[in-house]
């Protein structure tokens, strides 16, 4: 079953058009990667789906409903949670308070503080510290935990690996794979192509705001991806 679908999605920053005719389809339970160079429109795509950028109603369909016109706070209540680029934790809140912010979506489900602490045991020890006191990897775990606390049906992850050490990235992706294996639908945006392809079943490659390539990940020729990535 298709959970998220975009129809000729276009997005603008003022007069500047950042996305052109993007058609993406994400089946329930699937992990989809969106790859592309800097400025290809990956983050814009996630922001448009999450409602942080206004688009035409019918261009974003979630669970059969047009949501392109809805505000961000309404969309998270429908079950789309975002792990924003650069983590964007609330600096004056403690780790636990940051996690609890996820409950403002007012969705119930399996994800509670207890379950997040089981997934990331280190966060339980650090829960009373202010968020900026954490290492980059711990902050990323908090950002993922915060998104999970809203009990989403669709998890949008923007550049989880940004600024993190390879060993930390591996840990975070291991957790993400476990979450996906549990049935979560995930859309990943990554600059690290190999990392993204390893974690996903299907990928879309963006180039300058347009879809350059889309295919199942399995056994796909990496040379063709490289060509689409750089627009060769």
């Amino acid at each position: 079953m298709t959970l998220l679908q975009t129809h000729n999605l276009a997005a603008f920053y003022g007069d500047f058009q950042a996305l052109f005719d993007i058609n993406v389809e994400v089946a329930e339970g699937e992990t989809v990667a969106i790859i592309g160079a800097n400025g290809a429109g990956k983050t814009t795509f996630l922001r448009a789906v999450a409602g942080a950028l206004a688009t035409a109603p019918e261009t974003v369909i979630f669970d059969g409903e047009p949501i392109g016109h809805k505000a961000a706070h309404e969309i998270v209540r429908l079950g789309i949670a975002m792990v924003p680029e650069g983590r964007r934790l609330f600096p004056s809140l403690s780790v636990e308070e940051n996690l609890l912010l996820g409950t403002h979506s007012e969705r119930s489900g399996p994800w509670t503080l207890k379950r997040v602490y089981e997934l990331f045991p280190r966060l339980q020890e650090l829960r009373h510290l202010p968020a900026p006191a954490l290492s980059g990897g711990q902050q990323q775990m908090t950002a993922v935990g915060r998104a999970l606390m809203s009990n989403p049906r669709l998890l949008l992850c923007d550049e989880l690996s940004l600024g993190l050490a390879p060993v930390v990235i591996r840990d975070i992706y291991r957790c993400l794979t476990a979450i996906a294996a549990d049935g979560m639908t995930v859309v990943l945006v990554e600059q690290d192509i190999n990392r993204a392809l390893d974690a996903s079943a299907h990928f879309y490659c963006f180039q300058e705001g347009r879809l350059a390539l889309s295919a199942p990940t399995k056994n796909f020729d990496r040379a063709a991806i490289t060509a689409a990535y750089f627009g060769l």
Partner: protein, 288 residues
């Protein structure tokens, strides 16, 4: 003993200044909204109390039962219907709009009530005092006002640090866009914030008007006092605001003990000195 008396009066005077400042501090802290109409809203609350107590025979403090909900509703509506529209365009639009609201309130009050001075009458409590050994005397009413200020700030601390709504306020203050992504409706949240700020503004207005004469143009000086208390205390710190109010009050009381004409001037001078020595205030919390 005169000096000690002046010091105590000054500390207690700080209570009303802190109450003036709470609403201003909240709207700046949460929405980055500099509310130029804040002083006039304090005076408006006093007039609402005047109308209510004349209409119903309630004493001014009991009239808060009506004044508080009225001011909360007004704050909610003004933020939701007007001020929210100004917040995306930088610091200037809200400044201009609240400046306009300030003029409208002053002229509206003048139109309805005239330029006469009024005072709310609370009865014997206004002049009662406690005599302590050593010639020190403490007014019961200033002590009550100070107690209310402490209780108000303590209850705000509980709201901000112990409740779900308070967590949302702090998150939106940190990063409004990300708060929205978490499911917080900022427009509603901001309206609640100004509504709650107006609860404290209503209390401040009534308590001030029992002690001091007021007229439609009494707002701007309250705004300045509120600003000074917030800046001396440090932006974003509620207890700092109480200390800021006390610093102002002490400076005024000591100034007036030297020469009665120096009361107001001494407060402003204390503010300028602190602005020069510690530009971010005594207990800064907000970084930007």
């Amino acid at each position: 003993m005169d000096w000690l008396n002046a010091l105590i009066q000054g500390i207690l005077l700080g209570g009303i200044y802190a109450l003036f400042a709470i609403g201003l501090s909240m709207s700046f802290g949460i929405m980055r909204l500099v509310n130029i109409a804040h002083g006039d809203l304090i005076v408006l609350a006093a007039y609402v109390a005047l109308v209510v107590s004349q209409g119903t025979g309630l004493d001014p403090i009991s009239s808060l039962v009506v004044v508080v909900p009225v001011m909360f509703a007004l704050g909610y509506a003004v933020q939701r219907g007007l001020l929210n529209l100004t917040l995306s365009g930088g610091l200037l639009p809200p400044l201009l709009v609240t400046f306009g609201i300030s003029i409208i309130i002053q002229n509206g009050l003048q139109e309805v009530f005239g330029a006469y001075t009024h005072r709310l009458q609370e009865g014997a409590i206004e002049t009662a005092s406690l005599r302590l050994p050593g010639g020190i005397s403490i007014g019961v009413y200033p002590l009550l006002v100070f107690g209310v200020a402490v209780a108000a700030i303590a209850s705000l601390q509980v709201l901000f640090y112990r409740t779900r709504l308070g967590r949302a306020f702090r998150a939106a203050s940190d990063d409004a866009d990300t708060a929205e992504l978490m499911g917080i409706d900022n427009r509603n949240l901001y309206a609640l914030a100004l509504g709650i700020a107006m609860i404290f503004t209503a209390i401040a207005g009534v308590l001030f008007a029992i002690r001091t004469n007021f007229d439609p143009s009494a707002g701007p000086i309250r705004l300045i006092l509120a600003f000074e208390a917030v800046i001396i205390g440090g932006l974003g710190s509620m207890w700092g605001t109480l200390i800021g109010g006390m610093v102002l009050g002490i400076a005024q009381a000591l100034g007036s003990a030297l020469n009665p004409n120096w009361q107001i001037l001494a407060g402003h001078l204390a503010f300028l000195v602190i602005l020069i020595v510690r530009p971010s205030g005594l207990f800064p919390r907000t970084k930007d």
